[in-house]
């Protein structure tokens, strides 16, 4: 695995991660996202519907959280989760927790962390964690980590313990990794912890960077944990200490404005659970990320533009962001336009807002399928546009465009 950077603009690293997968044939552009799955399936989608999406990320993300309960089955199957799930030819990255489900706190010990499967809590020692990795057979995975520092006012002592434990887990995982046949060609990523305490973040970073890891996972930064300014500062300090040639993946960050901010702070990779969250609340991503090819016109457009987004709807989910529309709203009942004009996803090519509205109102399963396809397509389009903006020196225009929808909350 090798990260080839072509340029760095305003802190954003543009490049390609090459040599991925067992045969080393896959590559992933950065900044980019992994393909989010639950139990190795992109939510709501079968392989046929999934592959209506063009330019899927070459790296699929699975979690110990959704697979731990199937350890025995996977061990008997012997050929890893990619084959077990009938996945296409893709690279597998295995993280620990599912960023969508907040887990109850207070179950971390010095030697264990816990995940929640369909049958309840599963406690993991480093040994069991590694046995699960051997059963999953990912191409890359994060080592076991204590990231439970997202609660407000985590004490310094608690944060320090999280860093210590995570390093201890990393050392144990590294040791077991060497002994595990099934992981011979896999890369292990170290996890940077430290809550919102700069000192601890730096300590975690420096210590983790000393270990022979293939890349770095930035944990404990999800939206509930801290505000964007604090996050940005901490991440910048962290990435300044990390080797340039190893990729940096951040967990728990998905909202477009936060993505841009983290990319500017030196993050390469993100999860793609955000489109799924938008889907689950019956919403469709519609924020504009297209910039006019001519910079001058773009500025004029932006200044003279009338707001495309009207008043937020009354029955919106409290988690709704400015980047989406709520298709359950009555105003879409007879709206025969596609979800987003010009979008080439299956949903926008074949269906209209009124139909998706109807599916949501009648609680039909197809709503989830269509929204997932659209939201994933839109999100992937956003990342592609971000990379293009960096490549063409249009990052500021791009930022203005994407963030403009935030100012229109009436």
């Amino acid at each position: 695995m090798k990260l080839e950077l072509s340029r760095v603009v305003q802190g954003c690293r543009l490049g390609v991660l090459t040599g991925l997968g067992k045969t080393g044939q896959h590559c992933l552009e950065v900044p980019g996202c992994l393909l989010y799955t639950r139990c190795a399936t992109v939510p709501h989608l079968t392989q046929d519907t999934l592959h209506t999406l063009s330019d899927l990320p070459s790296v699929t993300q699975v979690t110990v959280e959704s697979l731990a309960e199937h350890q025995e089955v996977l061990e008997e199957f012997k050929e890893g989760v990619r084959k077990f799930a009938g996945l296409h030819n893709t690279v597998l990255f295995c993280s620990l927790h599912d960023s969508v489900n907040p887990n109850p706190a207070g179950h971390v010990t010095n030697k264990t962390v816990s995940v929640w499967g369909s049958g309840g809590r599963i406690e993991l020692t480093a040994a069991r964690f590694m046995a699960i990795q051997a059963a999953i057979q990912p191409d890359c995975y994060q080592s076991m980590a204590d990231g439970e520092t997202w609660q407000a006012n985590s004490s310094r002592k608690r944060v320090r313990k999280a860093v210590d434990r995570t390093l201890a887990h990393l050392d144990e995982c590294l040791m077991l990794h060497q002994k595990t046949q099934e992981l011979k060609q896999a890369e292990i990523f170290g996890v940077v912890e430290g809550g919102d305490i700069m000192e601890e973040r730096l300590r975690s970073t420096r210590e983790t960077a000393k270990r022979p890891v293939g890349g770095f996972v930035l944990d404990g930064f999800h939206s509930a944990a801290m505000n964007q300014d604090v996050r940005g500062q901490l991440i910048q300090a962290i990435t300044a200490e990390l080797p340039h040639e190893k990729p940096r993946l951040i967990l728990g960050v998905g909202c477009p404005d936060e993505v841009i901010s983290c990319a500017e702070a030196g993050v390469d990779l993100f999860e793609s659970f955000f489109p799924f969250q938008v889907t689950e609340r019956g919403c469709a991503l519609n924020f504009n990320y297209t910039i006019n090819p001519d910079p001058e016109t773009a500025v004029l457009e932006l200044n003279g533009e009338t707001p495309a987004v009207t008043k937020p709807s009354k029955n919106g989910d409290e988690n709704m962001t400015p980047f989406e529309i709520n298709l359950k709203d009555k105003r879409y009942q007879d709206d025969f336009h596609p979800l987003v004009e010009g979008c080439d996803c299956y949903c926008c090519q074949k269906h209209m807002r009124a139909y998706v509205h109807h599916l949501l109102v009648t609680n039909e399963l197809l709503a989830g399928v269509l929204l997932m396809l659209h939201n994933m397509a839109h999100y992937l389009g956003f990342f592609k546009a971000l990379r293009e903006a960096i490549a063409n020196d249009r990052l500021q225009d791009f930022k203005n465009r994407v963030l403009s929808c935030r100012e229109r909350d009436v």
């Binding site: 139990c39 399936t41 039909e364 399963l365």
Partner: protein, 418 residues
């Protein structure tokens, strides 16, 4: 050339009506490709406005303008040429005006092949409490806003005209097959009168085919009377209704075969609400061409996968480590890619598990009908039936007696060592 003259003067009125119906007949043509020389089975092609359908055919039910989690493209890829939408549900939400604006149900759900809509009658009686039937129509209380609604034959047809389905069903006076007594006769006669009102109300006879529904419950005399009356009307097709509602199978098959005995050969016969594999095969033998049922798609969502030897309840523990596909011989997308074990695991995490089984079950039903059809064309339908029974049941002692008798009645002997 002699001037056309009605055969008997008292038939004159009916002939005039049927002449008129024929001249403005909708685009439906049934071509009989093969007839089983032993039983009453037929293989046909049914040309409808949107595409051609091969029969015998199973029509999956997409109640609210969607096939429960699978896309229109996926349904097309399974080679489905006709599916159902429900007038009652769609009439409530989103309503006929909106669907008409969206260019009919085809436009609304973007389904380019054929659609069949039922009249709404069955749902009202089965789903809604305190519905009341009068000569005018069915009165019921809307479950969405509590308002009282009257569904008349004219209104049912008006909604179906807005939906723009290729085949529409008359509003019939539906009575449960377990009901006995004078109500059954009343309902049968009323259904005939409502058929005439539906025919008169159809604004689009040139592109929407209105089917009659034969009623009469489990009473042979009533059913025969209904057949006699309804076959006088020149409708493009006939459905056999009032069955598959919990009656004894012994009574069920006798009414089916009585009906097909008296329905015109050159028009399609649609047996409503039948979907279990065994029932499909037997009723094809008895002369039915078209079937619909929610069973295969509904049971899929509960994790039940249909196979030639019964069904697999994939949520059960025994499948946790079963690494075969649902059916090693099945060519559907689910069986080509996924194992029982994976589907078992996925059911704990994501809705996609349901979609996988839905695809498989629809494929199973459509493939079964295709195999039946092919066997009729190749003049080996009786052999097919025997092989089907052997695969489905572990021994001939297990064969349900009603099925054995029904098949025997059309000269197919399944339970002797041949």
């Amino acid at each position: 050339m002699a001037a056309p003259v009605a055969a008997n003067t008292h038939e004159c009125e009916c002939s005039m009506a049927s002449l008129k119906a024929v001249s403005s007949a909708a685009h439906l043509a049934l071509r009989i490709v093969a007839e089983c020389p032993v039983s009453k089975a037929r293989a046909c092609t049914l040309t409808l406005p949107h595409s051609t359908v091969s029969t015998p055919v199973f029509m999956p039910v997409g109640t609210q303008g969607t096939m429960k989690g699978i896309t229109a493209d996926q349904l097309e890829d399974l080679d489905c040429h006709i599916c159902l939408g429900n007038t009652y549900h769609l009439g409530m939400r989103p309503g006929p005006e909106l669907i008409e604006k969206a260019k009919g149900l085809h436009g609304f759900m973007n389904w380019k092949r054929n659609l069949l809509t039922d009249s709404g009658g069955f749902q009202m009686v089965s789903l809604v409490e305190l519905s009341e039937v009068t000569e005018e129509g069915v009165t019921f209380r809307s479950p969405y806003d509590g308002k009282e609604i009257l569904l008349t034959p004219e209104q049912s047809i008006a909604i179906q005209n807005s939906l723009g389905s290729d085949i529409m069903m008359q509003l019939d006076d539906v009575v449960s097959s377990t009901v006995k007594g004078p109500r059954v006769e009343e309902a049968m006669h009323r259904s005939v009168r409502w058929l005439d009102r539906c025919i008169a109300a159809n604004k689009n006879p040139d592109r929407q085919n209105l089917f009659a529904i034969i009623q009469g419950g489990l009473d042979a005399k009533l059913r025969k009377a209904c057949l006699d009356e309804m076959t006088k009307r020149d409708v493009p097709g006939f459905a056999i209704g009032g069955l598959s509602g919990g009656e004894e199978k012994d009574d069920f098959w006798k009414m089916v075969t009585l009906s097909t005995d008296h329905l015109p050969r050159e028009k399609p016969r649609y047996l409503m609400g039948v979907g279990y594999a065994l029932d499909l095969v037997v009723c094809v033998a008895l002369g039915c061409d078209m079937f619909d049922c929610v069973f295969p798609t509904r049971t899929a969502r509960f994790g039940s996968a249909l196979v030639p030897w019964g069904s697999l309840q994939l949520k059960q523990k025994q499948y946790a480590k079963d690494f075969q596909p649902i059916d090693p011989d099945c060519q559907c997308p689910t069986c080509r890619r996924h194992s029982r074990a994976y589907l078992h695991a996925l059911f704990k995490s994501d809705t996609a598990a349901m979609h996988h089984i839905t695809i498989h079950n629809i494929s199973y039903q459509l493939t079964l009908m295709r195999s039946v059809r092919q066997s009729i064309i190749e003049k080996r339908f009786p052999e097919f039936v025997k092989a089907f029974m052997k695969r489905m049941f572990s021994s001939s002692e297990q064969y349900p007696s009603w099925a054995v008798e029904a098949l025997q009645s059309v000269n197919i002997t399944v339970n002797c060592v041949a």
